[in-house]
Subunit: 352 residues, 2 copies
Amino acid sequence: MADIARDAGVSVMTVSYSFNQPERVSPELRRLVRDSVERLGYAGPDPAARSLRRGRSDNIGVVVGEGLGYAFEDRQSTKFLAGVAEVCVEHRQGLVMIPGTGDATDVDRVREAAVDSFIVWTGVDLTLLDAMLSTGRPVAVQGWVPSRRAAAVGSSDGPARARRGSLHVVGVDDRAAARAIAEVAFAGASRPAVLGVRLVPSDEARIEIGPVISRSSQNVGKPRLQGVQDYCRQADIPWRQVPVAFLDNDRHEAALIIGDLFDRPSPPDAVLAMTDELALATLDVLAERGLEVPADVSVSGWDDGEGAEAAGLTTIRQSLHEQGSRCALLVLGEPVDPAPPAWTLVRRSSTR
Amino acid sequence: MADIARDAGVSVMTVSYSFNQPERVSPELRRLVRDSVERLGYAGPDPAARSLRRGRSDNIGVVVGEGLGYAFEDRQSTKFLAGVAEVCVEHRQGLVMIPGTGDATDVDRVREAAVDSFIVWTGVDLTLLDAMLSTGRPVAVQGWVPSRRAAAVGSSDGPARARRGSLHVVGVDDRAAARAIAEVAFAGASRPAVLGVRLVPSDEARIEIGPVISRSSQNVGKPRLQGVQDYCRQADIPWRQVPVAFLDNDRHEAALIIGDLFDRPSPPDAVLAMTDELALATLDVLAERGLEVPADVSVSGWDDGEGAEAAGLTTIRQSLHEQGSRCALLVLGEPVDPAPPAWTLVRRSSTR
DNA sequence: CTGTTAGCGCGTTCAG
DNA sequence: CTGAACGCGCTAACAG
């Protein structure tokens, strides 16, 4: 830029102004500057220097927990990202993808990202969240937060863990939604069952009967399980007898365990799955055994993702697009609709 | 960082080294530094200052021509991005999404992006490409380049347009692929037709008979049309009688024009579509009219995208994931397989 | 409307 | 192995 200034015979600031506040510079000088810029092939203010000086980068970082490949392949994920992207474009913000691989290098990537704020899409642990907050930048998390401890913003356990960034959590009221779908899925059922996703990779897929929810490591699942429990209590279904399976969210893998569930002495006559994938796995198992849906067994899913409509699945729909936009607005400090994001119970033919 | 140094009683450089080359600092000092870092809640070297000093940002920018929403919703696009992302993670590079909205602000966004290189996914015009190259950073374009002029790297039309970045183009041999699929799609046909995508929005969707390819504005389509023409020549099909329609890539919109095509005196008995979407539109039209595929009319698509398999569409498949990775490797200066990306002819039931 | 001054936070250099 | 000086390229704040 100094070169331009010299070449055009003006001060450096005049050049800077011609880029950033052209109206402050007289037309003649502006032309002079533009000519020099063209002649010397100057590509405009260096973004790094500008960020350093301005103290901001006009970039929003999106931390994706399960690897970038997943982020781009998964339907839910791309909807969320599209929502974020929309706001980014409107507010002239760049969008920086920050992959979470699950190992210790994640913290480095977060620290090294030249962004003004973070949006967390999925699967982030407490360490990583700490790393983000400790940069003093705003953070918005979709869905849920690893533990109650982290949710207590401002509370610090010693100066070492001073969290200076603001933390926003964006997500639907899972508990209420679970209560609502349980009401539909379990209507008229006498032997309901629940299918959850296991999150801790070291765990074995397993079936528990009437688990104590507070001890569950299922962060996403917890409020949902509570919602189901709420309904059971209200409908006089003894929770202690409800089998809950924690499975991999994979249609084929899950089908095996679900088969076990139906091999038990009193097979379920209603299955509430925490994901569409698990619900579809259930439908596979039932079709194979010649059981009618919903006559013999009613089934519900969650997400209203791909294939849910075709399978006639009763499910919960939430606008991830909206939540993406909301996260972006929050970290930008823009006002957002104070009401929590909406969910809808989509009733189809898989329930009575 | 100066604060840390003061607090720890060491020089600033000792702190810097503890972050970047810990082995250069004695263990005791390293501990001292770490303690101060913890105590003061220092979040590590500022990324902007680091980029400025180092002269690189360790970020790859991906320019997405059709808006970010599209980038995340479109299947092809997400595969490509996943390929880019894979390499980014391996090489500790950040991934910055740069949306192209089609207006003049695109150039600004490109100039303002703190990235070391650009990857262009789709729909970029010459101006934008110029903007990228003029930053002196490497650029990799998927598919094709707006014009021959731009492809001539290093050639400059005056200092004003000095292009200093290297330009890589990654794409399959469209012409060869087109020749191959024409052979299958047009086998035994006497009245073949071609469906292309119109790219210039101002154009009307239209049907031309045996168009002069060199005059076509269809950059993507050109090599493909040439490939079809190659086959026609070889199979003694008079190109001058082949109808070529340029349509919007939209199943419903396109169906109308395709209907027109079949209303002509001599309706096609083979349709080669440049996208699966257009092929599916053709199938819709044929189903409506009670025509058998492939008995009455054979149909081929392009991309092997969503729905192609279900529809039994003969089509061309290319690994966009691979091409994404390849683009990333190219801009990073890593060696790549010198053979051009592979394509496959997928034969299904829509052709004879 | 334009020029001057004074750093932004870091890493490279070179001398201890 | 450590420290001191310098400047990366730009812009906020002020003066003229």
